[in-house]
């Protein structure tokens, strides 16, 4: 039992923290958001240079062989800065799927491109009627020569509009919510039969609707039967989102505490009023519980037993959702009017936190997941 970062992990944390501090303040972020893809290509290149895009990939594929705690570290620091780039889809989800599903040849080829910064991925999995059900896949894949062709519609594909490659789930057999018969495919977003509608999201990121009409696709791995891999990738994504949320929560508390220290009313700092101090303390409690569950989720997110893994990850998502609501809402309240404006950063944190809560299943969904497995079984 050990909650300490290793020396390498501490170095990684310091490095990412410094990098984000130097390159990603609130004003710079606004500029990145205004760039064509909704993020900074320059920063993406710098991530590559710093080795951040190599974290989860195996050393044999040119990666640094990091585990979920390393990704947690990176995501937490990115959460503090509200980083915009498609790190989650490319590195976390992409890394997971390459590891679990791709053939060795696919893996080493893609890993090289990703690590070098030349390839951004989007994970085109959710479908309009799926809500949060992972196994709801209506998109069809049909064998066609060496490859496949796909037909269907994918929704809320994070950074689907800027990805160099799409990882698309599609069904070769079975009914809409069957576990069996779902494959993962690589699709060139510029290929014929791929239509992409790019749009902004509430938190200032980007997403896309992807429509596939006989689009050419390459199967990832050898068999189109990847629901287990999709569940694994989803759990890793959730753990990473929890870390991002914890980072955003930490920064939200810092900003709020600083604000109530500086802001004077009736001739004194409003942070000297006990009623506000108690609220700030309650925020701190939520933050520490969130951090604890971030770690728990990360450590469990590669557990070999899928039931235990999902149980832990769902619990983490529930806690982060709860903390995000409690701490986030208080952070706006304590800022008062300025918290309502786009000119202060706190509102941007609140919005990102609110959207993370709706990504890969909201609090109620993950409580239902826990219910299905009999709770925490403590």
């Amino acid at each position: 039992m050990d909650f300490e970062l290793s020396e390498e992990q501490q170095l990684l944390k310091d490095m990412v923290g410094r990098f984000m501090q130097d390159r990603y303040d609130f004003e710079k972020r606004k500029k990145y958001m205004a760039e064509p893809g909704g993020f900074s290509e320059e920063i993406w290149a710098a991530y590559a240079e710093q080795g951040l895009l190599a974290v989860p990939f195996a050393e044999e594929d040119g990666g640094i062989g990091g585990g979920p705690v390393d990704l947690m570290i990176v995501m937490e620091e990115m959460g503090k800065a509200l980083a915009l780039e498609p790190y989650l889809s490319t590195v976390v989800i992409g890394g997971s799927i390459l590891r679990t599903t791709a053939t060795p040849a696919q893996r080493s080829a893609l890993a090289e491109e990703i690590i070098g910064g030349a390839c951004k991925l989007a994970f085109a999995h959710s479908e309009p009627k799926a809500r949060y059900e992972l196994a709801h896949v209506e998109t069809k894949a049909a064998k066609s020569g060496d490859g496949y062709t796909l037909d269907g519609a994918k929704t809320l594909v994070m950074y689907g509009g800027v990805a160099d490659k799409l990882i698309v789930s599609a069904r070769v057999s079975g009914a809409t919510t069957d576990e069996a018969g779902v494959g993962l495919f690589l699709v060139d977003p510029k290929a014929d039969g791929v239509a992409i509608r790019d749009y902004p999201t509430q938190d200032g990121l980007r997403a896309a609707e992807v429509t596939l009409t006989g689009a050419a696709a390459e199967l990832l791995g050898d068999t189109p039967d990847s629901m287990a891999a999709i569940r694994q990738a989803s759990d890793e994504a959730i753990a990473a989102l929890c870390a991002e949320a914890a980072g955003a929560l930490g920064k939200s508390l810092d900003l709020t505490v600083q604000y109530i220290k500086d802001r004077e009313q009736f001739g004194r700092a409003i942070g000297s009023f006990q009623g506000l101090q108690f609220q700030a303390s309650e925020m701190f409690v939520e933050l520490e519980l969130a951090r604890s569950m971030m770690m728990y989720g990360a450590m469990a997110s590669r557990d070999a037993d899928p039931v235990e893994r999902s149980r832990a990850v769902s619990a983490a998502k529930v806690q982060l959702g709860r903390s995000a609501k409690q701490l986030g809402e208080k952070s706006i309240q304590l800022h008062g009017g300025v918290g309502m404006t786009m000119e202060y950063s706190i509102g941007h944190y609140f919005k990102r936190l609110s959207i993370i809560d709706r990504t890969f299943g909201d609090t109620d969904h993950h409580l239902a997941q826990l219910d299905a497995v009999g709770g925490m079984a403590a």
Binding site: S126, P128, K129, R131, Y132, T155, L156, R197, Y199, P200, T201, Q202, A207, E209, R263, E264, Q265, F266, I270, G275, L276, K325, E329, I332, Q333, G336, G337, G339, M340, T341, M342, E343, G347, H348, F350, K351, S354, I355, R358, T359, D362, D364, H365, L367, A368
Partner: protein, 399 residues
């Protein structure tokens, strides 16, 4: 004690309801129902319709163009407006500046301003808040210095709702910086927004829209005839205003309409074999909110009954609950809507300039997250929840 309205009150309610249903423009109704807010034109059109009926100012006495309703009729009207997705009458005109002018203004002012206030052909905004003042409104710094027949105004207001729509602004300004207490030395000025020296800077809020603005005054010359009442007595007039809005503040009718919508939408969202409304845990959250809303409604009726009988001279202690709990419930409902919309909270299509693409997800989905963000304000503006708790502790509990 009797929960039922009298036969006349019921008849009045039916009359109001029928009028709204028959006269509210469909586009406005839909935008209100879906929480998309209304345009300036929506409001102006609706105010014209109400004014033609003589209903645009439900609390005003007859002599100034109001309908002369009693407290219960006023309440029924407000409830029906909110239940039927109609906009409340433009508040700055009707609840704020109008009553101050007919109570403290001179005859010339009444004659000049009241008619266009009533039908909203002139749009008013409020210049009270200043940067850094927050709940400490009386610490305002905008100065008005008398020079001959004019005041010269310099300073800055903020959180000015719909300043971008406004033709006129009513302002609190400091006319005597040396007054012994900060509440003294404040005057109440009416200022034409077209006067040179006024600049409006919109403030984008976290829902992505622009409701509020900063208003800058740079040597703005205001004729002295635009002073309301006496110089340096403006704080009293403002306080009169602040006490003027107690019942409506709970927004029970609006919350009822929104909770209904929660159930309607949840029944349309598939989950498992059925809909989200088939989920007993979700339903329990709805029923809990409904019970709280009923408790708030009954509290509101208690206060109303007290006003109807005793004229509301001394505020009923329960009235201090209305804003605090009303805000909490409004916010809970916007969170329930987030639970309903689920992943389709994510896309932002509403308010994206130049976008005429269809909404991502169901039609109604794109207004939900902005609504949740926007409603954070209800526990901040108009006396924050912290201020409300302080008032209860001191004024009611004597702590």
């Amino acid at each position: 004690m009797d929960l039922e309205f009298t036969a006349e009150e019921k008849a009045f309610r039916d009359e109001v309801r029928t009028f709204i249903r028959e006269n509210l423009p469909e586009g406005t109704r839909t935008r209100m129902k879906e929480g998309r807010g209304t345009s300036k034109q929506d409001m102006v059109d609706w105010m014209k319709i109400l004014a033609d009926k003589g209903w645009s100012a439900p609390r005003w006495p007859k002599e100034y163009g109001g309908p002369g309703w009693n407290a219960i009729q006023q309440y029924i009207f407000t409830e029906e407006i909110q239940l039927n997705h109609a906009p409340d009458p433009q508040g700055f005109n009707i609840s704020m500046v109008g009553p101050v002018i007919y109570t403290f203004g001179n005859d010339a002012q009444k004659k000049k301003f009241l008619p266009s206030i009533l039908d909203c052909s002139v749009w008013w905004c409020q210049g009270f808040s200043e940067p850094g003042a927050g709940s400490d409104l009386a610490s305002l710094k905008t100065k008005a210095v008398r020079e001959g027949d004019e005041y010269v105004v310099n300073g800055q207001k903020t959180w000015t709702t719909y300043a971008q729509h406004a033709d006129w602004i009513f302002c609190l300004v400091r006319t005597n910086p040396d007054a012994p207490k900060k509440q003294m030395g404040i005057s109440y000025l009416l200022i034409d927004m077209k006067t040179p020296g006024i600049t409006v800077r919109p403030i984008q809020t976290i829902d992505g829209g622009v409701e509020v603005n900063e208003v800058f005054f740079d040597n703005v010359r205001v004729p002295v005839e635009n002073l309301v009442g006496e110089e340096n007595k403006g704080w009293d007039y403002a306080k009169f205003l602040l006490g003027n809005e107690r019942i409506g503040i709970a927004r029970v009718g609006a919350s009822k309409a929104k909770l209904r919508r929660v159930k309607e939408l949840a029944a349309s969202v598939p989950q498992g074999e059925g809909s989200l409304m088939d989920d007993p845990r979700f339903r329990a959250k709805v029923w809990e909110t409904e019970v709280e809303l009923k408790a708030l409604e009954m509290t509101q009726l208690r206060v109303l009954s007290d006003i109807a009988i005793r004229g509301g001279k001394k505020p009923h202690p329960a009235s201090s609950v209305l804003k605090l709990k009303g805000s909490e419930i409004q916010q809970s409902i916007t969170h329930l809507l987030m639970d309903v919309v689920g992943p389709y909270a994510i896309p932002r299509s509403m308010g994206v300039e130049g976008s005429n693409e269809p909404s991502v997800g169901p039609d109604w989905a794109d207004a939900i997250a902005p609504g949740y963000f926007n409603y954070r304000k209800v526990s901040i503006y108009g006396g924050s929840s912290e201020v409300q708790k302080g008032i209860i502790a001191k004024a009611i509990l004597g702590l």
